[in-house]
Subunit: 263 residues, 3 copies
């Protein structure tokens, strides 16, 4: 808990520049989530500048929510550059399995450079882990638990941290598993909450070199801000507002008080 | 009224996957509107995956708010595929008439596959119905009533349902006309409310095969959520928040109580 | 003060069409800011229609937040057309200096047609004024004051108005300098507030031919709406909501009462 509070505090002190190549739907909301938590977002995707932006950033977020050819080119350039200069990166395989193109792109990104973190819902992680072959898209109703055994194998195979989001979030680094049980049922009623989780992981890995701890911190912040927001909200509209306020207002002490962490 | 309540209820039970090829401005707000009402949005536009995504979706929404060449290619592929597999689709000709390119694109889409529904403001519908030749853009101040006679002819010619939005919404299927007089004057002060209406039509035609009823349901939900939100709001910022909450909270009983429907 | 109130009033009466070629992150929020203040936004970027849209619009906003090749082509076409038909335009060089591509693009736009206004933060303006050679991106922590002397030279060289945003906003037209000291510390915690300032400048130059006055009006409206919103807000989420409400609710009398203007 002290480590989590310290990572949050360091984000606010250092305000790391987090480079996002993400989807059109959530660019605004993830930029706002990063600002609210104290990080500094930059969104840039042109192949002409992608390496310059990776170079000045402290971490990289790759989110394939709305793919197209040029964007895939940029993602591949970005992850190559990130690996080359040891900039940590997190990959969000949004909707993998929903189309052949999406699956092929996800596999191409992972093959080009192993992400430091992969975050998805249970269905997405299972597709990637080749234990499932189809997905309904981005808001799978599958339980996170269903994907855990596949995720452990996948984490070992890639030697990376895998985060499976759901009512219970699983942070998996080989055989090391932490769970966070915070969060609200209103979260799946707001678009891009998973994408915000991925971007906040981006902020945490920019600051904390222990990737498992960084991911646990990110999911704790998301879940507890979700708890705080849900108490004040009547529906998904007010929830979004209160969620950004809560990301801004959450403190180490609140985290210690509210966290439902299992290690 | 019972039919309308039943359609709303079925959206929440079945949570249909609604595929949106829409504009950059409203992707976030229409995804959130669909989630709030109980549907499941997917946004995808790459030609490489468009047919896969149409295939797994229950309906298709084509919105030409921010056009460009590749997106038009995708829209044409999508509507062809939708027709081929009998997936219902709704077309929103945003800003048709504001440029030659926009008008040509709208006509090309309609010529490629007849939409099950066309929704626009009075100006847009009149341009399409060739009774007018210019438009100020997306927030026309023309009254919906002005476009009704043209819309009736247009509906008959295409054998489709035409929805003309405004202070009074007209749902037109040949000579059958229903009107909904709910809604708030704050709605034109928020970007993308028309686009949200189109996406909610997408959710309703995914569930209800009587297209006229589906469109009437969608416009009733929009208008009544607008009424509910306006009562709680000081301006367009709080209106947006309360509108999403209202889409989430509206029930069949509230609809029965508040609806201003004329058949 | 009376001139500022009059310009605000004229925006609401005339509802000028403001054409934005802007970045993906802020399209929704800047469209909503323009609607809230009483203007009429249009977002369009296809080279196929760009000249048609410039032609029907009262002003043009060029914002290079998320660049790519096709968009740069459109921006260049748009500014050429705007100059040709004397449509005023404002340029927001977002993140100039963060990559070679971004700097080259900004210089190309300015070389193609001199903007009527250039608005940026201190770092961006200094890069453009060639007094600095790097920038952290869009949320520079440099003080506006640091860029003032460079901005004066730059304004004279280009014969244009330069607006340097920060805790104190500087509106600079040659040796004429006005400052606005309104605004809240929550504003840098919300993405796109600078972009909203640029779009509101777009609305003001569409109405008021005295560009210095138009820019002073825009920054006063932004800052005072920020003051009003901050009083009601707990964090950046509620601030965004209250800010849009305040843009809608601000009046000439409120401006006269609250403005912190130095000429």
């Amino acid at each position: 808990m002290n480590d989590i509070a310290k990572t949050l505090n360091n984000i606010r002190i250092k305000s790391p520049l987090v480079h996002n190549i993400t989807n059109y739907v959530v660019m605004n909301s993830t930029a706002n989530a990063l600002l609210a938590i104290g990080a500094s977002p930059v969104m840039a995707h042109a192949t002409e500048e992608i390496e310059d932006i990776v170079t000045i950033s402290s971490s990289l977020v790759i989110n394939m929510g709305t793919l197209s050819e040029k964007w895939v080119d940029s993602m591949l350039l970005a992850v190559k550059k990130a690996k080359e200069i040891n900039t940590p990166f997190v990959f969000d395989p949004v909707g993998v399995g929903a189309s052949k193109y999406r699956t092929a792109t996800a596999l191409k990104i992972i093959a080009t450079a192993t992400p430091n973190v992969i975050r998805g819902n249970a269905s997405e992680i299972m597709v990637l882990a080749q234990q499932a072959s189809s997905t309904k898209g981005v808001d799978s109703t599958m339980l996170a638990e269903d994907a855990v055994s596949g995720a452990i194998e996948f984490s070992k195979k890639l030697n990376t941290t895998v985060v499976v989001s759901g009512a219970v979030d699983h942070i998996i680094t080989g055989d090391k598993i932490s769970t966070i049980s915070n969060g609200s049922t209103l979260m799946p009623k707001v678009t891009g909450m998973g994408c915000s989780a991925t971007s906040i992981i981006g902020a945490c890995i920019a600051i904390e070199s222990d990737v498992h701890l960084a991911c646990t911190t990110a999911m704790a912040i998301m879940g507890i801000a979700g708890d705080m927001a849900a108490e004040l909200s009547k529906g998904p509209g007010s929830f979004q507002v209160n969620f950004l306020d809560s990301l801004y207002l959450v403190t180490g002490d609140i985290i210690k008080d509210k966290i439902k962490l299992n290690v």
